[in-house]
């Protein structure tokens, strides 16, 4: 990790930075993509180290300039140093991956054993006709590299089960449950509990979705699904999954990932947000 006080790095960043003005008239110091890349090349360091060193000086990588002031430069550093696992990179997970890469979460582990199928095209942002048959985890990691090269994306093309989930998920601050069946969700929840990791879990069916955040020791998904799930799928097996429903729920998931990373807190802990876009119902229920 680049030390913020490293005089060589700081000197070069200051020389390359420029003053910019936001739409509200307030100013900030900006470091462009090309300039950050040039400094990284000269010093033989990863671009993300240059960007973190700039942020420590209050200089904002221009690609993150619209994250401010909702996020502070210090928040942006926290995100850059964070590791998040996205379990399932289909409908929810594809959108989550895209958003977390753009906002600047430093390390994303993208876990999915499946390959893209034609029926994914209606809602999965990472699915295009030319990637049918390819591993979702690989396509997702390539997308992250394209969107934001400062983010380390690790493709993990496997299905989590009781033998591997704990070790695969260890080391992450947050796990995002974007799975498509109930038993796998419970496997991931248990692994998070065992690892002491917060879980941001969403599920969709048709116009409807649900979202909750589970911290280790919480009752968790049992409060929603009951303690014994007889079925492997929910009502989505009949209702299908719609692009706008997964988009909305994925956005809500990302907001909670950021809440947990920055504040170690979520307004959806011990609560579930339920949504029906058919009549614009959104309700937060105390569990």
């Amino acid at each position: 990790m680049a030390a913020p006080e490293d005089p060589d790095i700081v000197d070069q960043i200051r020389k390359a930075a420029s003053k910019r003005v936001r739409a509200d008239g307030s100013g900030y110091e900006s470091l462009g993509l090309v300039e950050a890349g040039a400094i990284a090349a000269r010093l033989g360091r990863p671009v993300r180290h240059i960007e973190t060193a700039a942020l420590a000086q209050g200089i904002v990588p221009e690609k993150y300039s619209r994250n401010l002031t909702a996020l502070s430069p210090d928040d942006q550093i926290v995100l850059a140093r964070a590791a998040v696992a996205v379990v399932g990179v289909g409908g929810l997970g594809g959108n989550v991956t895209e958003m977390l890469a753009r906002i600047g979460v430093g390390r994303l582990t993208l876990i999915d054993a499946d390959r893209f199928e034609e029926s994914n095209l209606n809602r999965q942002v990472l699915c295009t006709p030319d990637c049918l048959g390819r591993l979702k985890a690989e396509v997702a990691s390539e997308r992250v590299a394209t969107v934001n090269a400062s983010v380390t994306a690790i493709a993990c093309a496997l299905r989590l089960d009781d033998t591997n989930a704990r070790s695969v998920l260890a080391g992450h601050q947050v796990v995002v449950d974007c799975l498509d069946n109930l038993p796998d969700r419970l496997v991931v929840e248990k692994a998070c509990r065992d690892n002491g990791i917060a879980l941001v879990s969403a599920a969709v069916a048709g116009y409807c979705g649900q979202l909750t955040v589970v911290f280790p020791g919480d009752r968790g998904l049992g409060a929603i699904y009951g303690d014994a799930t007889g079925s492997t799928t929910g009502v989505e097996a009949h209702l299908g999954n719609l692009a706008f429903t997964v988009g909305v729920m994925a956005g809500l998931q990302c907001a909670e990932v950021i809440n947990v990373l920055l504040h170690a807190h979520s307004p959806l802990r011990h609560r579930v947000l339920v949504m029906d876009l058919g009549d614009a119902t959104v309700e937060v229920v105390v569990l």
Partner: protein, 77 residues
């Protein structure tokens, strides 16, 4: 003297929605389970029921003006 409650049925349960769901009459003393059964909801299918924004058990008594939501298991991603 009947009391009236408001009912919201999510996802696949929407097909069971009565026309008067926003002002649905029940007998005083009706519990969550009684309303669920009257609506024709399979108890094995719905684990998440809430009253006025708080998760409810099947034996909870309902009162005038309560808002009751039934949410089926949803697992898609």
């Amino acid at each position: 003297m009947r009391v009236h409650v408001q009912i919201k049925l999510f996802a696949s349960l929407g097909r069971l929605r009565p026309a008067n769901a926003d002002h649905y009459p029940i007998e005083p003393g009706t519990r969550v389970a009684g309303l669920r059964d009257a609506l024709g909801i399979d108890p094995a299918q719905v684990k998440l029921i809430f009253v006025n924004g708080v998760r409810a058990e099947a034996d909870q008594l309902l009162k005038e003006g309560d808002r009751i939501g039934f949410f089926p298991p949803v697992g898609g991603g």
